[in-house]
């Protein structure tokens, strides 16, 4: 029996030895992105080699002089996480920075701030987009080749991320405003400074206490140094920090030094780009002065007078003290835009040096004291009709304008015009006398128009809908889910009998926004015509806006002479893709 206990003990030990172990779970390995290609070209060299002075141009990157693929690398110094930077990644390799325009959102996950990216740029497009050099795709603008976003899959084939993000290794370059402004003047300066991540110390905001961005489109703010030099900071309405308030006092502002047209635009990555300022809580706002009651209440029937506007004493260039009000006055002059600055105090009375983008009105046609005047910012859609540069005959005429009372050019002013009345005509009141057909869509309906869907995204009742302010609006973008959908839909007019008119013509006003680019918009928003029961043909000669935005532009007069005497239908033909669904607003359709 004792012997057997020994057996038991030894058997147990033996079996225990078999099962003894301290084996931990083998976890899946961390996968770090690793680039397999090596850079052979600096960003500075690449930019220098492919630089052109044209604002818009496209070049294809070739091999290096040694006959090898051109490969660059750089560390990501941007992020689109807050939405202020849009569809772009900026990389910097110590020599220069490059904007990569990629047709994708949430790039900050794939190309993280502080992460190294190696790109075989051979056969990719590089060029200027309104003055900013960028790597991207090729599109057209005004029928000319132009830079646009590169397809994200194509870019991914060329780009390799290398290692995890290391934000500590990101260089932020200290700069001062005069230095940067001076750099605009030389090619070398532009190449060197464009797209760099820069920090301006000891600067203040032009509008402390105001939000970074107001309204539904981008807002321009300025940082000003102690010598008064200022730099434009452009804040997107899509930025998650748009409603945060600009801080008061002096501090440092960091962002990507972008470029548009002929001007720098600082793009913040996030509001953390503002450091060292005072508390950004609201500075005390002066109480709004009471509006003198005798003159008007801002309605069309009872517009505000110029002196009422002056009494409102607007202090912000972006926050209205009175919104969508009618103001009545006389056109007395404009603020010339050619000089060093454009201010109300510098108003030229009369039509000399007349500006296209603004005008000045006063309580009487003979006023010549700028302090008795207000400045009017003219939107592109009204410049033809209102500006003294285009319509010198308007001088001295009475005009009614609808807009927001704000500070403009250093004095009281009216901005964001949406309507006017001049000689009985107005923006919302097209001249429909002797029109064969007209439709404003202002009744929040599509009037007699009908919708013909060729492709309708699931869940959409219609792509087109009527709106009081914006006419017939087409979009296949679902703002709820923030998703673009592919769509194809015509807004078809009722049958129109052109009757006896010898040279009938179509006109309307429209605005296009959020298309991939304006060239794409021209293809995705077309106007078509057909005779009763016939095939649709596209109408040529439509004037489109030169840039995307919410400003309505007149279509110009589109001849329908070919259809004289016939019964026709016209159609606004909207298409979109799942990659990008733009918005098209059409109103004041007239045939006469």
């Amino acid at each position: 029996m004792k012997k057997s206990l020994l057996y038991i003990a030894s058997a147990m030990l033996g079996a225990a030895a078999l099962t003894a172990c301290g084996d931990d779970f083998v976890r899946p390995p961390m996968v770090f992105p690793t680039a397999t290609i090596e850079a052979n070209t600096s960003i500075l060299d690449l930019k220098t080699d492919y630089w052109a002075t044209d604002r818009n141009y496209v070049k294809t990157i070739g091999l290096t002089k040694a006959g090898e693929h051109t490969i660059i690398k750089g560390r990501v110094v941007s992020s689109d996480a807050t939405g202020n930077i849009y569809k772009s990644v900026i990389i910097y390799d110590g020599s220069a920075a490059l904007n990569l325009a990629i047709n994708a959102y949430d790039l900050y996950q794939t190309y993280q701030f502080g992460q190294e990216v190696v790109i075989d740029v051979t056969d990719l497009k590089i060029g200027g987009y309104n003055g900013l050099m960028q790597l991207g795709g090729e599109g057209t603008y005004n029928n000319a080749p132009s830079m646009t976003f590169i397809d994200s899959d194509l870019f991914a084939e060329h780009a390799q991320v290398n290692g995890l993000a290391n934000p500590q290794l990101v260089d932020t370059i200290p700069a001062d405003i005069p230095e940067v402004l001076a750099a605009k003047n030389s090619t070398e300066g532009l190449i060197l400074w464009q797209s760099r991540l820069v920090r301006f110390d000891n600067v203040r905001w032009d509008a402390p206490g105001q939000p970074y961005c107001e309204g539904t489109s981008s807002t321009n703010r300025y940082i000003i140094d102690q010598t008064g030099s200022q730099l434009l900071v452009r804040n997107s309405s899509y930025a998650s920090f748009k409603n945060e308030l600009l801080p008061a006092g002096y501090g440092s502002v960091t962002g990507i030094l972008s470029y548009y047209g002929t001007d720098w635009q600082l793009m913040l990555i996030d509001s953390e780009g503002c450091q060292g300022f005072e508390d950004s809580s609201d500075p005390d706002q002066p109480g709004q002065p009471d509006t003198p009651g005798e003159e008007g209440d801002g309605t069309e029937q009872s517009p505000l007078s110029v002196s009422q506007v002056i009494a409102l004493n607007p202090s912000s260039t972006t926050a209205a003290v009175a919104s969508e009000v009618w103001v009545k006055g006389y056109i007395v002059g404009s603020m010339p835009t050619g000089g060093a600055s454009t201010t109300l105090s510098g108003t030229t009375f009369g039509t000399d040096d007349a500006a296209t983008t603004n005008m000045v009105i006063a309580a009487a046609p003979d006023v010549t004291d700028a302090s008795q005047c207000i400045g009017i910012q003219l939107p592109a859609s009204m410049r033809d009709a209102l500006s003294l540069a285009n319509q010198p005959g308007n001088l001295g005429k009475e005009v009614m304008l609808k807009g927001d009372v704000m500070k403009y050019c250093g004095g009281p002013g009216l901005k964001n015009l949406t309507d006017y009345r001049l000689d009985g005509k107005g923006f919302d009141k097209p001249d429909t006398s002797d029109a064969i057909f007209s439709e404003t869509f202002a009744a929040s309906s599509l009037g007699g128009f009908t919708i013909d869907n060729i492709e309708l995204p699931a869940g959409f009742e219609a792509v087109w809908k009527g709106s009081a302010n914006y006419g017939a609006v087409a979009t296949a973008y679902d703002s709820g889910s923030k998703t673009d959908y592919a769509a194809d839909s015509r807004l078809v007019s009722p049958l129109i009998d052109l009757g006896t008119a010898a040279s009938p013509a179509l006109s309307f006003e429209h605005a296009l926004n959020f298309f991939a680019d304006i060239a794409t918009a021209r293809q995705q928003a077309t106007v078509e015509v057909r005779v009763e029961g016939g095939e649709w043909t596209t109408l040529e000669g439509v004037t489109y806006p030169t840039e995307m935005g919410w400003s309505f532009v007149p279509s110009g007069s589109i001849s329908l002479a070919d259809f004289a005497g016939k019964k026709i239908q016209i159609a606004f033909h909207y298409t979109s893709t799942a990659a990008k669904a733009g918005t098209w607003e059409v109103k004041n359709v007239i045939i006469k």
């Binding site: 029996m1 012997k3 057997s4 057996y7 038991i8 058997a11 147990m12 033996g14 079996a15 225990a16 078999l18 099962t19 172990c21 084996d23 931990d24 779970f25 083998v26 976890r27 899946p28 390995p29 961390m30 996968v31 770090f32 992105p33 996950q109 794939t110 993280q112 992460q115 995890l164 993000a165």
Partner: protein, 917 residues
């Protein structure tokens, strides 16, 4: 002295052929069960000659001086038997010696076999869960006996091994199916305590007389008619489990003077509603064994059995659903229709089997030759839907947790779940209403535009036809050596398809893949399940969805040699086999137009195995044994095809699996104390596994095949039995094991809707635990065989260290994870979180049993058993659990697709009354 005896034995063996001496042969069987008794000692009192019975219960003593002798047959656990015989020179036969089992305990337990098998019937296509391994049966091994009955609540598997690693024989014919490797115990129709009572179990790596066995052991059910104890027995049982009532009758005629014998059995099981709400159980079975003794040496036995079973089942689901429903037995697969409960998950099985055995016995040779055919019918119903809301009440959008961010909706759904049965269960009336609406619309639609059912009930069918030939031989060369060997052939045709079971009021079902719909503009062919009959409209009974056959064939031969010496037993054996199989697609699937229709490549595998064993009988009380087995096995067709419902594609380079199994044991056998302790090590190399799951994020059924898998199972098994008094027995058994993955195999993911191409990647599984089987199990019990044939037993079981079956997707290297976890620390932490393996709760159950046997007279006896399992009513025992196969690739939220759990019922009563005469 012992050495001299040994020499003497050898000598007498050598001299046994001389005419001057006598030889005595016979067979020892259990008088209750008819199964052979291995290791009984047969002794000639006057001449001091002894022999041990072999695996077949057979013994032979040679070199006897003729004359009158007194033979005793003794064996542990049986009453001794003695006979006076007059031995003549030459061959003398003692015939069959029936030993009366003294061990009332094991006899009592064997009546409970059905309980174990009822639980074993389990299948879920989303999981790796399989039937429990069932090596229970009359066996002397304390550990195995107790483990079989008492470790079943948590789906214990012997040595961690799947059912496919155990061979189940009927009369020597291996019945494991060639496609899935398993034996479906439900095909025995619940007759395990009657018609299939006679069986021989080979534990672990032990050698068996009927076949080569497998590394998980083997069992041979013997249905040769003359092994049934003649007479009638019948029983009626009540239980509160899957079924409520069971009735069984059996009559065995015994051999008549014309050499005919038959045994007839019948069984019925029934529950209007089982313990799980919304389930039912209808099963009936018949069994016949008919034997004709042709002459002294030859007999023929025809065995035929089959029983249709129809039952509704529950299944594993989310803890959230259990909690909301307030019961761990919540079953999402039923709902009300016209106020009546209806189940969507009905399983129908019917496996009629016929077998003809020819037994040849002469002198030292026994040959058992069999031909058998089996028709396996298996259907399981499920709801299918198209362009409609998911009818499954546990669909994640119907659960409050989906609305965590919206308190109002969260409260609403919580309220509905708790209070509205049509939220908590399937709303059949709503499904019919929607189909009816389609019909109404159809009245005004052109034929081409008509809408079919939005919801149907489909049948998923896996039928088989098996044809088997088998012959095995047992040759006692002399009293020391015996030889066993056999050849077998199995031809299987497996037929797999779906049919429409019920259109639920609709007009037809459109046979396209409902989940390929998004591809309609890009690749319209992708929609088609049957490209040659596109957009087919199917009605009740029509095959649709998929339809494929697998033809498999296996031929096998084995040979082994047993040597029994006074102090040593040796065995060694070898097995060779040839396996081939091939898939035949019956539909040209739109997702794989080139390789779905017609025959795929024929895959062939040559395999071999080697088995060694030795036992050192230190003395009459202590034994040390060691076994080893190494072999290769063909991969299973069910795993090799990466998406068998769609295409012929297999994993790259299908290769045979290589298995190594070792064990080392010590057993002791004293008068009052016996037991054993065994350590084992089993390594399975190059294995293939496949799981399937429905991936909601891609709207597709997804197959995930692992190949080149290495699994290691090691552990200690301890079983002890102590007789405190002649009537009181204490038992203690335990197993302490680790069953783990031991390498990082390749995983192939295949989307059935063809949305993405198949991908193969490394799956990091090394050292993770195999799911489901508890790795630590302990049981202690007391049995009292009280006076007047009363029996009382109580035992407690503790089981722990069981793990959730893991999903490979959580164990891949994730190439985009860094995009959201951008630093090394974050990345490491996230990987650790995602790849964690969840553990199940430990479980304790207390079981009580009471039995009473009443002899009315010498012939008629009554018995009553009452078993109360889980008397503490523990409702928190997870029988098994699996991690859902999909991973949240958007937010990497590990809880996005929570584990699915299945729970054991609480207290379970089994009351049985039987009569025997």
């Amino acid at each position: 002295m012992r050495l001299k005896l040994f020499l003497l034995l050898l000598l007498s063996a050598a001299m046994s052929m001389t005419a001057q001496t006598a030889t005595l042969t016979g067979m020892v069987v259990n008088s209750n069960t008819g199964s052979p008794v291995n290791g009984a000692t047969v002794q000639l009192r006057n001449q001091s000659k002894t022999a041990d019975s072999g695996l077949g219960g057979d013994f032979r003593i040679g070199g006897i001086l003729p004359g009158t002798e007194y033979v005793t047959v003794t064996c542990e656990g049986y009453a001794a038997a003695g006979f006076e015989v007059n031995l003549l020179p030459g061959d003398n036969s003692l015939g069959t010696v029936r030993l009366e089992p003294q061990d009332f305990t094991s006899d009592f337990y064997s009546d409970q076999d059905d309980l174990v098998f009822d639980d074993a019937v389990f299948d879920d296509e989303e999981s790796m869960a399989q039937s429990v391994s069932a090596l229970n049966g009359a066996n002397d091994d304390v550990f195995y006996n107790n483990a079989s009955y008492n470790f079943s609540p948590m789906y214990y598997r012997f040595r961690g091994l799947d059912n496919a690693y155990q061979t189940v024989y009927i009369n020597g014919v291996a019945m494991n199916d060639l496609v899935r490797g398993r034996f479906n115990f439900s095909s025995l129709m619940g007759m395990t305590s009657r018609a299939f009572r006679n069986k021989t179990t080979s534990v672990g790596l032990d050698a068996a007389a009927y076949g080569f066995g497998d590394i998980g052991g083997s069992v041979n059910y013997n249905t040769i008619t003359d092994t049934y104890a003649p007479g009638f027995n019948g029983s009626v049982a009540y239980t509160n489990s899957n079924y409520m009532l069971r009735a069984m009758v059996q009559y065995a005629s015994g051999m008549n003077k014309h050499g005919w014998a038959f045994t007839l059995s019948a069984i019925g099981r029934y529950a209007k509603e089982g313990i799980v709400e919304g389930t039912f159980y209808n099963s009936g079975g018949l069994f016949l064994s008919l034997e004709k003794l042709l002459n002294e040496n030859n007999s023929l036995t025809l065995t035929a059995f089959g029983g249709p079973t129809q039952r509704a089942t529950g299944g594993a689901t989310l803890q959230e659903a259990y909690d909301l429903a307030g019961s761990n037995l919540y079953n999402p697969f039923w709902g009300y229709q016209d106020g009546k409960k209806r189940s969507s998950r009905i399983t129908e099985t019917y496996d009629p089997t016929v077998m003809l055995n020819w037994l040849f016995k002469k002198d030292r040779v026994q040959v058992n030759t069999a031909v058998s055919a089996r028709w396996v019918h298996y259907n399981r119903s499920a709801l299918q839907y198209y362009k409609a809301n998911d009818p499954n009440p546990t669909y994640y959008r119907y659960l409050p947790s989906y609305y965590e961010d919206d308190q109002e909706l969260f409260d609403l759904y919580s309220y509905l779940w708790r209070n509205d049965v049509n939220t908590r269960q399937i709303d059949w009336d709503e499904l019919y209403r929607i189909n009816e609406l389609n019909n109404v619309q159809n009245e005004t639609l052109a034929n081409a535009d008509k809408k079919g059912s939005s919801y149907i009930l489909e049948n998923r069918t896996n039928n088989q036809f098996n044809f088997m030939l088998n012959s095995y031989l047992n040759y006692n060369i002399n009293s020391v050596m015996s030889l066993q060997g056999g050849v077998s052939l199995n031809y299987t045709k497996s037929m797999n398809y779906k049919t429409v079971r019920d259109l639920l009021g609709g007009e037809f079902w459109l046979d396209i893949d409902p989940f390929s719909d998004r591809d309609i503009t890009i690749a319209p062919d992708n929609l088609q399940n049957d490209l040659d009959n596109p957009n087919r409209r199917v009605v009740k009974g029509d095959k649709f969805g998929y339809n494929y056959n697998i033809y498999a064939l296996r031929a096998e031969a084995w040979l082994q040699n047993l040597i029994v010496l006074p102090h040593w037993n040796f065995n060694y054996g070898v097995k060779v086999s040839y396996t081939q199989f091939q898939r035949e697609g019956r539909m040209r699937n739109g997702r794989a137009p080139e390789n779905s229709l017609g025959y795929g490549d024929m895959l062939t595998f040559d395999n071999a195995g080697l088995k060694l064993g030795a036992t050192w009988k230190v003395n009459g009380r202590n034994y040390l044994s060691a076994h080893a087995e190494y072999g290769t096995r063909a991969p299973l067709p069910d795993y090799v095809y990466i998406s068998p419902r769609v295409k012929n594609t297999t994993i790259a380079n299908p290769e045979s699996e290589r298995d190594l199994a070792l064990d080392l044991g010590y057993a002791w056998n004293y008068r009052n104390f016996r037991g054993s302790i065994t350590g084992y090590y089993t390594a399975v190399n190059n294995a293939v596994e496949r799981t399937g799951f429905y991936d909601e994020s891609f709207n597709t059924y997804t197959n995930y095949t692992l190949s080149g898998v290495k699994r290691v199972y090691k552990g200690i098994e301890v079983g002890m039995e102590f007789k405190a008094s002649p009537s009181v027995t204490l038992t203690a058994v335990g197993s302490f094991a680790r069953a783990q993955y031991k390498n990082n195999p390749q995983g192939t993911r295949s989307f059935e809707n063809g949305l993405y191409p198949d991908t193969t990647q490394t799956v990091y599984l090394k050292n993770y635990f195999l799911g489901s089987t508890p790795q630590t199990n302990m049981n202690v019990g007391i049995n009292w065989a009280a006076p007047y044939q009363w029996f009382f037993g109580i035992n407690g079981t503790w089981q722990g260290n069981a793990y959730v079956n893991l999903a490979p997707a959580y164990h891949e290297a994730l190439p985009t994870l860094w995009q959201q976890y951008g630093t090394e620390q974050e990345l490491q932490a996230k990987i650790a979180e995602l790849s964690q393996q969840d553990k199940l709760k430990d479980a304790f159950t207390l079981n009580v049993s009471i039995g009473k046997l009443i002899y009315i007279n010498r012939k008629v006896s009554l018995n009553f058993n009452l078993n109360i399992n889980n008397i503490l009513n523990n409702k928190d025992i997870v029988t098994y659990a699996y991690q859902q196969g999909r991973i949240d690739t958007k937010n990497w939220d590990r809880d996005a697709y929570p584990n699915r759990y299945q729970y054991a019922q609480g207290i379970r009563i089994f009351l049985n009354a039987g009569i025997r005469f």
